[in-house]
């Protein structure tokens, strides 16, 4: 069969490419970085969850505010179909996948703990939180790969897991366990912010603002 240019004109692929395009402004990475840097405050006291609730409530409006002024005038704006409206979507299926991912991550973490530590000791779980978190990050990785068909997003889960494994096998004194946990999330967060800023700067330089016809005429 002759492969034609039209083989590549596929509405599903266009949607994936468009979704990927709207990730290039780096704002998602910056947001993720901020979340990661402040995640360990939950280990200090559970009341800090109020910060997270505040963040979740206001993150979306803040991101939209920034995108209205920087991203949409350059890329335009696309409204994607909500997942709930797509054929084959099921809340149960999504929750099941999340549950399987979480349980799978726990099983792999405990297995790795037994292999490295030589024993199963629940008191060591704090040491293996970075590795567990890294595995859980494959969830967002898989989601992004599915939405964009870009294999590079596997890097998010792979890097978080490898970094988490390295942190987990290091020997820290018990009294420093909080600091080393914070160091893991802080490292991930800072790297995400740096990546986000680099992408933002490249994005702003690559895509000029497109002025609407009414603006050009005036």
């Amino acid at each position: 069969m002759v492969e034609t240019k039209n083989d590549k004109i596929d509405l599903k692929k266009i949607e994936q490419q468009t979704f990927h395009e709207f990730m290039i402004d780096g704002i998602t990475e910056i947001l993720l970085g901020i979340l990661l840097i402040f995640l360990p405050v939950l280990f200090i006291h559970v009341s800090f969850i109020s910060f997270y609730i505040f963040f979740i409530l206001f993150a979306q409006p803040i991101v939209e505010f920034i995108r209205e002024r920087t991203t949409y005038p350059r890329l335009g704006r696309v409204e994607f179909k909500r997942e709930e409206d797509k054929e084959g979507y099921s809340v149960k299926k999504s929750l099941l996948i999340l549950l399987l991912l979480f349980l799978g991550s726990i099983v792999i973490t405990f297995s790795m703990m037994i292999i490295v530590e030589g024993e199963f000791d629940l008191s060591l779980i704090y040491k293996w939180i970075p590795f567990l978190f890294g595995l859980i990050m494959f969830g967002p990785s898989l989601f992004l790969v599915g939405k964009t068909s870009q294999q590079r997003y596997y890097f998010l889960g792979a890097f978080s897991t490898i970094l988490g494994f390295l942190f987990s096998i290091l020997d820290f004194p018990d009294e420093m366990i909080g600091i080393y946990l914070y160091l893991y999330f802080f490292t991930l967060g800072v790297l995400a912010i740096i990546l986000g800023v680099i992408r933002y700067v490249r994005f702003v330089r690559t895509y000029p603002v497109i002025h609407m016809e009414e603006e050009e005429e005036s």
């Binding site: 039209n6 004109i9 209205e68 335009g76 704006r77 696309v78 409204e79 497109i210």
Partner: protein, 71 residues
């Protein structure tokens, strides 16, 4: 995708505003897209949305072109 605004289409097609508007009107007249004017905040925005008829026409167009190249 649910819909996209004119800036998106201008960037993707590199057409002038006049050409873009002309093509959009023809597609709307054929029933392949809907042109809607909505407000985002206080700003009026023109968005284009493909219809079911438009999707079917696009798939048929692809099929015809592929058959032409295979002959």
């Amino acid at each position: 995708m649910e819909n996209a605004d004119l800036i998106f289409f201008k960037r993707k097609t590199n057409l002038s505003w006049g050409n873009l508007s002309s093509h959009a009107s023809k597609l709307e007249n054929a029933g392949y897209i809907k042109i809607e004017k909505i407000f985002r905040g206080k700003k009026p925005v023109t968005v284009l949305k493909i219809t079911e008829q438009g999707r079917k026409a696009f798939d048929k167009y692809k099929e015809i072109i592929m058959n032409v190249f295979q002959v």
